[in-house]
């Protein structure tokens, strides 16, 4: 049986970054496993630009970003298993985990001290957002449509309705428009767009694509192929407003209604899950409740910037190297992060206070002139504007944390009083 110090599961941006970082930190035996035939995860199908402004200080397309990352990886020596799907993880004991994977060469059973789990996320399907009606063809998730077009060369349809105005939905609206399709509307249930302002301008406004805010798709109509969707206006509680129902003719419905971390293999192990992120509860080295198993990238928290996914890969790798060299991640006491006010989540959920930590979070609803307070360390950060679509990233350094004596830190976001 092969024995590794670290196995990285998932060869997207965060996974490659984790493998690179671990090698740079001197971890000897490292493997990277991905079920695809190529590395990069979702990046190779993102043919638009907007990647890498932080990490490479350049504006790159998805494929270009991947290429640069892979070039960096090639200078280091670690095993890459592509076309290899991990189907089971076993936690033997503190120092030994088993990873079972399948490829055309058979079943591999790999032994390892640590795991960085970076398997990305999946898209929510039409059934998860409560649309009713018939179940014809012509309904795709955004990522699926992108794969069909840019990996396999299949044009899904001509008259498009898009559900969800997150960045993925917006980018797909533009992708379809560029290909000559008629994008009839982008429908968003919230009263504000889900994506970045630059994407609203570049993907919708520049192509005269209508954005219907506070609208919801109710019902699909069509037998073999979708023919129409029924749409309505919604009130503040997202309830359909009577008499506001209308139909839009289309042959394609694109669902871009949110992403969910893929942590099934970890759930099977019984790790603690945070209902707010639907992923693992982690400490400041992104270690899960099972020692030596780390999570990074979209499998931890859905990132809007690849740079953050990469950063998380690196933090997890740092954790893995510490685990390998010090036999574990140390902390005199793990402090819990508590949330208050306009906050959807923050990761990590546990911090030691003994080292620098990067926190990632999102708010529940858009708000202007707000402050983020962490009373225990007397920290206050002002924001001109916060929006659910823009992840909040902040670094807390060990000096400001070292004085904390309490068992928890409370993050709260509220209006600034002026």
């Amino acid at each position: 049986m092969y024995t590794y110090d670290l196995i990285v599961i998932g060869g997207g941006a965060s996974g490659i970054a984790a493998a690179i970082k671990a090698k740079e930190l001197g971890v000897k035996k490292v493997a990277l496993v991905d079920e695809k035939s190529y590395l990069g995860g979702v990046l190779p199908q993102c043919i638009h630009s907007g990647f890498g402004l932080v990490y490479f200080k350049e504006d790159l397309t998805g494929p270009e970003f991947t290429e640069k990352l892979v070039q960096k990886a090639k200078k280091l020596s670690f095993d890459v298993y592509s076309d290899t799907f991990v189907f089971k993880i076993i936690y033997r004991d503190y120092f030994e985990k088993l990873v079972y994977a399948v490829s055309k060469h058979g079943i591999k059973k790999l032994k390892t001290k640590t795991i960085v789990y970076s398997a990305g996320c999946r898209e929510r399907s039409i059934y998860e957002i409560g649309v009713v009606g018939s179940r014809p063809s012509g309904i795709f998730t955004a990522g699926e449509a992108q794969t069909l077009m840019d990996i396999y060369g299949i044009m899904p349809g001509k008259n498009i309705v898009i559900v969800g105005s997150g960045d993925v939905g917006l980018i797909m609206a533009r992708r379809f428009a560029l290909q000559g399709a008629n994008v009839k509307a982008v429908i968003e249930i919230m009263p504000y767009p889900g994506g970045l302002t630059r994407n609203i301008v570049q993907c919708l406004n520049d192509f005269n694509i209508p954005l219907l805010l506070s609208h919801s798709v109710l019902r699909v109509i069509g037998k073999d192929r979708i023919e129409e969707v029924e749409v309505c206006k919604v009130d503040e509680s997202k309830k359909c407003i009577e008499d506001s129902i209308f139909r839009i003719k289309c042959d394609t419905l694109i669902i871009s209604a949110g992403l969910v971390p893929r942590v099934e293999l970890l759930e099977d192990l019984g790790i603690s899950i945070d209902p707010l992120t639907k992923s693992a509860v982690v400490n400041d080295r992104l270690e899960t409740s099972l020692p030596g198993i780390f999570v990074a990238g979209n499998a931890l928290v859905v990132n809007d910037l690849v740079d953050y996914a990469v950063e998380q890969g690196e933090v997890a790798a740092q954790g893995a190297s510490e685990f390998v060299f010090n036999n574990g991640i140390s902390a005199a006491q793990w402090k819990k992060i508590k949330l208050n006010g306009n906050i959807r989540f923050f990761v990590p959920q546990l911090i030691s206070g003994e080292r620098d930590v990067i926190m990632y979070g999102r708010v529940i609803s858009p708000e202007e002139k707000v402050k983020l307070e962490i009373n225990e360390i007397k920290k206050e950060i002002s924001f001109f504007r916060v929006r659910p679509s823009e992840m909040i990233r902040l670094r807390l350094n060990k000096d400001e944390l070292s004085s904390v004596k309490t068992k928890s830190l409370t993050f709260s976001i509220s209006k600034r009083s002026e």
């Binding site: 189907f87 009606g133 018939s134 794969t147 069909l148 299949i154 044009m155 037998k223």
Partner: protein, 488 residues
């Protein structure tokens, strides 16, 4: 020996069962005729998939349902083994929540005994909890029916058809019967969109359309009206599941909303019962109100349901409700050679094998001669499920065929070899592959694998990728080829 030609119209569970039974005879040339691109896409595709014990149907009001259900339940034990169809015989509990309900349980018990159902018993709270730890604690009593079970209905239809074809039955897909020709005394020909088929016997097993087909030869006085039932299906990881089939005390229209775990291990709740106009035979739409009704009623049966975020699919099916409410299994009054097997509403799935054995009896009675084959093959092998075999077996499979090493559907761990095998066995569409292999039936509902399956279908069927059909005619996955557009 000249063969008599039998045409079975409709390849649902009923037509497929009849095809299998008739394939045992040397001197019959059996044609199974189906308008869809695949078998089993009618009523048989979307239902509760329960092999009922047989206590529900009043033998005075519905003698056929009462008789065939119990017999069918018994026969399925043998058929599922011979044909390697997955079934679980976990038993059902009808729960009571009021005195009225309790009375109904005693009625069911008495009726079940009259119908010949074995093992029925009324049980009390503590035993209910022992048999099903997720049963609602407010349930006062339960009727325990240990013979009830659960099957995969689509797998059942494909298995039956594969076995029938193996034994010489001729399958006609995408062939819609448009007219039936007779010579004054008996049927002679079927007119279809694919030409004419000469026949001596016609069996009408067309589910929701049985009244339309019966009308072609006149003299039938029944209508089939659709009664819709809606469902939620949960992710296989969603907890808590149930280990038994849970029913409420039945209502006149239906057996009520059920909580059950499918043979594939997914919790499923449904169906409600909504009567639709007779012509809405395709209206399988789900509705907000219907689904809400299902959720509320299912919640009453259990301690708790998984959260709604664990729902991976909602869908609906149509029960073919006949005039009078009972199965209509009989030859035409005056025209020789035409037999109706119509109005096969619930428990039609359970009853299908028993009903099928009725057909040769009827043929004999009507003057046909039947000679059994010497080398009839009763067995069929199922598609190997890579995810279910041991690691050692997995390695062997990959060594034999490297396509087993390529995972196509990650949620259900379905390999390329299984997809190719499904195509070899007749899948022509993404839906056909999905129903045979489970690829695309997991939590992502095909978002990760549909494109890959389309590419495999394109390769195997030698058609362009965008031309691959998701479901029936007109359901192509795309409208054109981007790469060739770029090259133009």
């Amino acid at each position: 020996m000249s063969k008599a030609r039998v045409a079975i119209i409709g390849a649902g569970i009923v037509g497929a069962s009849i095809a299998r039974v008739l394939s045992r005879y040397e001197n019959l040339e059996v044609h199974l005729i189906e308008m869809e691109v695949d078998v089993g896409w009618g009523v048989s595709k979307a239902n509760t998939a329960i092999l009922h014990a047989g206590y529900d149907d009043d033998p005075n009001l519905y003698p056929n349902r009462a008789k065939y259900c119990v017999r069918g339940n018994y026969l399925w034990r043998k058929w599922t083994k011979q044909l390697q169809i997955r079934a679980s015989w976990n038993g059902s509990l009808v729960l009571s929540f009021s005195e009225e309900d309790e009375e109904e349980l005693y009625n069911l018990l008495e009726r079940g005994e009259r119908n010949g159902v074995k093992g029925l018993r009324i049980i009390e709270k503590d035993e209910i909890q022992k048999l099903e730890k997720n049963a609602s604690p407010s349930a006062t009593l339960a009727l325990w029916a240990p013979t009830a079970g659960q099957i995969s209905p689509f797998e059942a239809v494909t298995a039956l058809v594969e076995n029938a074809v193996e034994n010489g039955v001729i399958l006609h897909l995408e062939t819609k019967v448009l007219d039936i020709v007779e010579d004054g005394t008996r049927v002679t020909k079927l007119v279809t969109n694919n030409g004419e088929i000469e026949v001596d016997w016609v069996i009408n097993a067309t589910g929701l359309y049985a009244d339309y087909i019966a009308e072609l030869v006149g003299g039938s006085e029944f209508k089939i009206t659709p009664r819709r039932g809606e469902y939620f299906l949960f992710d296989s990881t969603a907890e808590p599941k149930v280990s038994r089939i849970l029913f409420p005390a039945p209502k006149p229209k239906s057996k009520g909303v059920v909580v059950t775990t499918t043979v594939d291990g997914n919790l499923m709740i449904g169906p409600n019962a909504t009567d639709l106009p007779e012509e809405e035979k395709e209206n399988k739409e789900t509705t907000q109100e219907g689904l809400e009704e299902v959720w509320i009623n299912a919640s009453k049966l259990v301690k708790s349901l998984p959260s709604k975020s664990k729902v991976i699919k909602t869908f609906a099916g149509l029960r073919p409700e006949p005039t009078g409410g009972d199965f209509i299994i009989k030859p035409h009054d005056s025209l020789l050679g035409f037999i109706n097997v119509a109005g096969m509403r619930s428990p039609g799935l359970t009853s299908a094998p028993a009903v099928a054995y009725e057909i040769p009896k009827m043929l004999l009675h009507l003057g046909a001669r039947l000679v059994l084959k010497k080398n009839w093959n009763p067995t069929r092998k199922r598609i190997i499920r890579f995810s279910e075999v041991s690691n050692r077996r997995k390695n062997k499979l990959i060594a034999m065929n490297p396509l087993y090493g390529n995972i196509v559907c990650q949620c259900e761990m379905v390999t390329e070899a299984e997809v190719v095998e499904a195509i070899r066995r007749g899948a022509r569409t993404i839906e056909g592959v999905k129903l045979r292999t489970r690829a695309g039936m997991g939590r992502c509902q095909g978002a990760f694998c549909r494109a890959k399956i389309a590419m495999i279908l394109s390769r195997e069927l030698k058609i362009k990728p965008w031309q691959v059909r998701v479901k029936g005619a007109g359901s192509e996955i795309g409208v054109g080829d981007l790469f060739s557009l770029l090259h133009e």
